[in-house]
């Protein structure tokens, strides 16, 4: 009798818990199990275009697309140094609509959402970028964040980081009072004050 009661109680517990459990499952939509159409839009910084180059249709609208893979006679400032052997312009740029980018499946994305394009190959980096581990976010640690687009830091045609000039080294302990003055520089829109040392 007691055994039966225990089984009955267990059954009740399971029956009550089942819908609660499945509901909890439904509510957890992490970024990774969103369907393709649901890739969230991130608030990002603006992509940097060469002055006057966008929208591309300004020039391209009146041109017939040449889909032949070739050395371009225009845009020669672009050095493709990004898996050059496997890739050329029209793998990412769309021949029929130059103002958007093209995913591998033929879908279009705007330049503001170019992370979807980069994320096709760099999946692990894309995953880290979404959670904030890769790349840079500014704003509020417990509020709205602005994501830097991949292309804000990496030149998409030549993504490796270029070496930087380091800011002044610290003064040696015996020289901490020999800072002549300070001067200001601008880094990414922010004003920083750096020391000027006596010769």
């Amino acid at each position: 009798m007691a055994g039966k009661l225990v089984y009955f109680l267990l059954l009740v517990v399971v029956m009550v818990a089942m819908p609660v459990y499945s509901e909890a499952q439904d509510n957890t939509t992490t970024m990774d199990n969103l369907t393709e159409n649901d890739i969230p839009k991130f608030v990002t910084t603006k992509p940097q275009f060469t002055e006057g180059i966008f929208p591309c249709s300004n020039c391209h609208a009146s041109m017939t697309p040449n889909r032949q893979r070739r050395e371009l006679s225009f845009h020669t400032e672009i050095q493709l140094n990004h898996a050059k052997r496997q890739r050329w312009c029209l793998d990412c740029h769309d021949a029929d609509n130059r103002n958007v980018l093209k995913l591998a499946n033929g879908d279009h994305v705007t330049f503001e959402e170019s992370y979807n394009l980069c994320g096709q190959c760099h999946g692990n980096i894309f995953r880290d970028w979404k959670t904030g581990i890769h790349g840079k976010r500014i704003g509020y640690w417990n509020g709205d964040k602005t994501y830097y687009l991949c292309v804000n830091c990496h030149n998409p045609h030549s993504p490796h980081f270029k070496p930087l000039k380091p800011l002044p080294m610290p003064a040696h302990p015996q020289d901490v009072t020999k800072v002549k003055s300070t001067t200001s520089i601008e880094v990414d829109g922010r004003k920083l004050y750096i020391p000027v040392y006596e010769k």
Binding site: T131, I133, I138, Y140, D144, K165, P170, V176, V187, L192
Partner: protein, 297 residues
């Protein structure tokens, strides 16, 4: 005169000498008898802030706002630094100097960027590092970099040794200094295994037009000669609600610096601790830093 009377008179005399002169301005008396910050009520904090803002106004001819924002509930700040990405450019050092009103002369900097040669002994032996590197461009070939600043320990040895309790760990995990309570004995500097604390050997100077006027009492308000200071995770920024990222996080050109709430499982700091290879500096000392170095590559 017997021994007892002598001691009484001497004690009174010494006490009298230590007190501010009778004709000192009222603010000197107020500063001298200022209460311990952690024991102040809101009214007392307001009075102290008003006095400090007036002092700064007279000194710098410019209004400097001093905030006393309390810790946010359910928040424990943590920091991540991606050693796979850092290129040693020192942008963080000067973003910090600018944001936190560090003295320009004598020079004080909270962040020290160490350069190591690849294959060299490191982490356990920072003595082999070089902080005076100055090549044309960084990263220098066959070198790597590790910035060091206050590690905001959960068991801070600096706090343990302070004879006046002028430094303590706040409930949100930030180790702070009350510059008015610090007597400048520098025990904390000797106790800190990370060389994170800096001392104002001279009168700190900053050109007036370079002062950041958004300050916190426990953070970047103007300091005085003879007091110790340190990184506070930009307490004046992160304790707002919503709180901004620290200045070093926002300036890093390679996105190597991460910041967030250790109690929030969705925060970047928690995700990186759970998914990346992480270590804490000098873990064997059991200081339990909340500053996590990690490798994303």
């Amino acid at each position: 005169m017997n021994r007892r009377n002598f001691l009484k008179t001497a004690a009174l005399g010494v006490g009298g000498i230590l007190l501010p002169a009778k004709d000192s301005p009222a603010s000197v008396w107020d500063a001298f008898f200022q209460k311990y910050y952690r024991e102040m009520n809101d009214k007392e904090k307001k009075d102290v802030v008003a006095r400090l803002e007036k002092e700064y106004e007279e000194k710098y001819k410019k209004h400097i706002k001093v905030k006393t924002n309390a810790p946010l509930p359910k928040v424990l700040y943590g920091y991540g630094l991606d050693l796979s990405r850092c290129v040693g450019c020192r942008r963080c050092v000067y973003a910090c100097v600018t944001e936190n009103n560090q003295s320009r002369n004598p020079q004080i900097q909270y962040i020290t960027v160490l350069q190591f040669e690849q294959g060299e002994k490191w982490v356990s032996d920072l003595e082999e590092s070089n902080k005076y590197y100055n090549p044309e461009t960084v990263p220098a070939p066959e070198h790597f970099y590790m910035p060091v600043q206050c590690q905001q320990c959960e068991k801070p040895p600096c706090v343990k040794v302070c004879p006046t309790q002028a430094t303590w760990k706040e409930p949100d995990g930030i180790v702070v200094v009350d510059y008015n309570w610090c007597i400048g004995c520098r025990y904390c500097m000797a106790a800190c295994p990370y060389n994170a604390r800096k001392f104002n050997w001279g009168e700190p100077t900053i050109p007036v037009d370079e002062i950041n006027t958004e300050t916190h009492y426990l953070g970047n308000r103007p300091r005085i000669k003879g007091s110790v200071e340190k990184c506070t995770f930009c307490i004046q920024r992160v304790r707002e609600n919503p709180g901004r990222y620290p200045a070093c996080v926002e300036v890093c050109p390679v996105g190597a610096r991460k910041f967030g709430n250790l109690l929030d499982p969705e925060s970047e700091i928690r995700v990186l601790i759970e998914t990346k290879r992480v270590f804490r500096l000098k873990e064997e000392l059991n200081t339990q830093p909340k500053f996590y170095y990690f490798f994303s590559l």
